[in-house]
């Protein structure tokens, strides 16, 4: 669908927030509301270069007709997007993908994000703090330095206890956010970790550490994965990652776009 840019602002060098409006953009083709962890495929302009759409996670659903994305200008596609001004058109496909699962019985959500990885986790925080008051969320946000710790203020405004870490110590604890996560779990696990789930998105090494921690503590970890994508709807088979096939005990390829982008971290062959 053709959507219009409402707002497109640079947060800091190369990181942008864009609000996009179109009738029904906040719902999928069946009328189901876009859910945290889902994504959209965006195309700017009619040129064949760049050719492919760009996948962007739902950052916040503002209404049924308006969604927000947080993106980093990484290549030509996002560079073109960053130059759009209010009123400009962008071609949007979505919402796509599975989204973060919240199985019955989840009472405590540990949200772990690194850098731009906070993009889909904000939507999860919105959902949990708004519609699932039975779940308490706690957030762990890391970045290279203070600028890269995105979304911490918004998390706190939602009443979510939020821990921060930076590699250079410019904000929060100096070091890796996964250390803070480990400490937190060690401190609180005596109350029992049944009903806990960890939701993670961020740099690959961080996701690996989070998955290992989750395994060590016996906590479910749902992780949002990234991959090069062409179609975003399950046809091209270009975006696969290796995932454990529990039935056969071997690894198989699964599509990030429509088998994911959220996977049970235990199944991912890191």
């Amino acid at each position: 669908m053709i959507a219009r840019i409402k707002k497109n602002e640079e947060l800091f060098s190369g990181y942008f927030l864009v609000d996009v409006e179109a009738e029904g953009i906040g719902r999928d083709k069946t009328g189901r509301s876009a859910s945290p962890g889902q994504f959209y495929m965006l195309k700017v302009g009619l040129s064949t270069d760049p050719l492919l759409r760009r996948p962007l996670s739902l950052h916040r659903k503002l209404s049924d007709d308006s969604v927000r994305f947080l993106y980093r200008q990484a290549g030509r596609g996002t560079a073109l997007l960053s130059r759009l001004i209010p009123g400009d058109e962008v071609d949007v496909l979505g919402p796509l993908g599975n989204g973060f699962p919240i199985p019955a019985g989840i009472k405590h959500a540990l949200i772990v994000g690194g850098g731009i990885g906070i993009a889909p986790l904000m939507a999860l925080a919105d959902y949990v703090s708004g519609e699932r008051k039975d779940i308490t969320a706690v957030a762990f946000i890391g970045g290279r330095s203070r600028e890269y710790v995105l979304g911490a203020e918004e998390f706190r405004e939602k009443g979510i206890e939020t821990f921060m870490a930076t590699e250079d110590g410019s904000l929060g604890t100096m070091g890796l956010i996964t250390h803070i996560l480990d400490e937190y779990i060690n401190e609180h696990k005596h109350k029992g970790t049944g009903g806990w789930a960890i939701y993670s998105c961020g740099p690959h090494p961080m996701l690996i550490s989070v998955a290992a921690l989750a395994k060590k503590h016996g906590i479910k970890n749902y992780t949002s994965m990234e991959s090069n994508m062409a179609c975003g709807i399950g046809a091209c088979m270009g975006c696969v990652i290796s995932v454990l096939d529990r039935e056969h005990g071997s690894s198989i390829y699964k599509k990030v776009c429509d088998d994911g982008p959220v996977f049970d971290a235990e199944d991912v062959v890191w």
């Binding site: 064949t48 760049p50 492919l52 759409r53 062409a230 046809a235 270009g238 696969v240």
Partner: protein, 307 residues
């Protein structure tokens, strides 16, 4: 005076299509994904993702990367296998009023033959497209399509194993496609699909690694369009078989260009990834072109380039 709508019907040898627009193999899965976006009965035909005798896992990731006005892929023919396809995918496709062209490949001539024999007995298959041109698998694929005798042998074996129309999908990764088209014709092919992807490569200059794990991959998209048009024109003039033209077709203008070069039908491939509605928009656009130019039948533009 109100003019009658032009006829979009074309024939690929014995295969009659209600319009010239097909989906290219490997870009449309087995139809399920795109059925959420439009009624597949609108299509002239659907060509399925390539099938082998046994299921295949495909190549390790990363499998794709974008290139100027195109993309490289090395999916490695990941597929569910012919038996699973017949049991689970074909019934879905059979409910639509469109022609189902099943793309096949094998590691040996015998495998091509065996896959064909299974499909020949299956209900709902209208034609077989023989892939002898995939650049991304070690055995089979392009190894057959870049050798004249192997081309003949594979097409002949498939021809003998089925009474369905046989379409040979040829490789552009040879100096001259015409002799290959000629051999395919002599082996009994009813039609040709031109072109498969061009072998390409891209390197990440920071990591100094190839951008896809297979190192090389197949280049598709608008970047290869002029190459496809040229090959179709050359083969159309030299060989009598009907051609399904493909290679970077993004819109109706591209489709008409391919038909003028000699394609009797066209396939949307990479375009499906960018715009799931591309094939239906192309059908509408071809019709508009015919009306605007006072042409009453789509087949009247085939090969009509004034060269």
């Amino acid at each position: 005076m109100v003019k009658a709508k032009p006829s979009l019907e074309v024939s690929i040898g014995p295969l009659a299509l209600k319009n010239p627009v097909i989906t290219a193999s490997g870009t449309f899965g087995y139809g399920e994904e795109y059925s959420k976006y439009f009624d597949l009965s609108l299509l002239g035909g659907i060509t399925t993702k390539g099938l082998s005798l046994k299921p295949m896992q495909g190549n390790p990731p990363p499998r794709i990367c974008e290139t100027p006005s195109g993309m490289l892929n090395a999916i490695g023919l990941q597929n569910v296998g012919v038996d699973n396809f017949i049991e689970h995918k074909l019934p879905f496709l059979a409910q639509f009023d469109t022609k189902v062209i099943v793309n096949i490949f094998g590691n040996t001539v015998e495998e091509y033959e065996a896959v064909t024999a299974r499909l020949d007995k299956a209900k709902g298959v209208h034609a077989i497209e023989v892939n002898i041109s995939c650049p991304n698998v070690k055995k089979g694929g392009m190894a057959f399509g870049t050798d004249l005798d192997s081309t003949y042998e594979v097409i002949k074996a498939v021809r003998n194993a089925t009474s369905l129309p046989v379409i040979a999908k040829l490789s552009p990764n040879v100096t001259d496609v015409v002799p290959f088209a000629d051999r395919a014709a002599h082996a009994g092919a009813d039609a040709l699909s031109l072109i498969n992807t061009l072998l390409g490569m891209a390197i990440d200059i920071r990591s100094r690694k190839p951008k896809i794990a297979n190192i090389t991959g197949g280049l598709s998209g608008p970047a290869i369009k002029p190459v496809a048009v040229r090959i179709i024109w050359q083969v159309y003039r030299a060989v009598g078989l009907p051609i399904i033209g493909m290679g970077g077709i993004m819109d109706a203008s591209d489709a008409v260009e391919f038909m003028l070069a000699g394609a009797a039908a066209v396939a949307a491939g990479t375009a499906n990834f960018v715009n799931p509605l591309a094939p239906v928009e192309i059908i509408a656009g071809i019709e508009r072109y015919l009306i605007e130019n006072g042409i009453d039948h789509a087949r009247h533009i085939i090969g009509q380039v004034q060269a």
